[in-house]
C-alpha cells in the first residue's frame, strides 16, 4: 500500500476541517481578551498575599 493512496480520502478530511465554525478576527480578539482576563485572579491573589505579608510582618 502506498500512503499516497490515502490522499483523496484526506481531501475529504480537509473539507470537514474547512466546514468547522470559522473564527473571525473579532472572535479571536475576544478569546484572547478572555484568556488574558483569566490570568488576573492569579495576579490579584499574588498581590494580596504580598500585601498581607508586608502588613502582618511575617
Amino acid at each position: 500500500m502506498n500512503l499516497d493512496e490515502l490522499k483523496p480520502l484526506w481531501e475529504i478530511h480537509k473539507e470537514r476541517a474547512d466546514a468547522q465554525p470559522h473564527w473571525t478576527e473579532a472572535d479571536l480578539t475576544e478569546l484572547l481578551r478572555r484568556t488574558n482576563t483569566h490570568s488576573y485572579p492569579w495576579l490579584l491573589n499574588f498581590c494580596m498575599t504580598l500585601l498581607l505579608i508586608s502588613a502582618t510582618g511575617c
Binding site: 500500500m1 502506498n2 500512503l3 490515502l6 490522499k7 480520502l9 484526506w10 475529504i12 478530511h13 480537509k14 470537514r16 476541517a17 474547512d18 468547522q20 465554525p21 470559522h22 473564527w23 473571525t24 478576527e25 479571536l28 480578539t29 478569546l31 484572547l32 484568556t35
Partner: protein, 168 residues
Amino acid sequence: MKREKLQKEFVQLIAAQQKLIHSVCCLYYSSAEDRNDLFQEIVFQLWKSYPAFRHQSKVSTWIYRIALNTVFSKLRKEKAKPSGESLSNEHWQQIPESGSSAYEEDVEQLYQAIGRLSETDKAIVMLYLEEHSYEEIARVMNMSKTNISTRLNRIKIRLEKLIKLQSV
C-alpha cells in the same frame, strides 16, 4: 512591538491559517465540544509563543508544532485522569457511520485506521498527507529525517493491515 499591534498581527495570522488548527482538532477529537476546547487551547498556546516566533521557519511548521504539542499534552492529562475522555482507539471505533456515500464510509475507515495509530504516528501521517517534506515533518516532530522515513514505512504497513482488517 506594542502589545496591541502584536495581537492584531497574531489575530490576522490565525484567522487566515485556522484551517490547519481545525485539521488537527478534527483528527484527534470527534465531538464538536472537544474540538472547540482544543482549538481555543491551541490558539492560547500559539499566542503565548508568538512573541518568540521569529519567522525563521514556515508559519505552518510553527502552528503544527505548537498545535501538536498542545494535543499531546492535553491527551497526557486526560489519560492521567481515571475518568478521562481522551481520544482513544475505542473512541474512534464508536463513531457512528454517518456516511451516506461509499466515499464517506471510506473516510470513516481512514479515521478509524488512523485512530489506532499512536498519537505521534497519527501526527506524522497527517503532516505527510498535508504534503510536508520529510525535513519539515522532522522539524515539527523534533525527530531526525531518517527516523521519520523509518516510521512512515512502519505506519504504511500498519495502516495497510488495519484497513484490510476493517474491510473483512
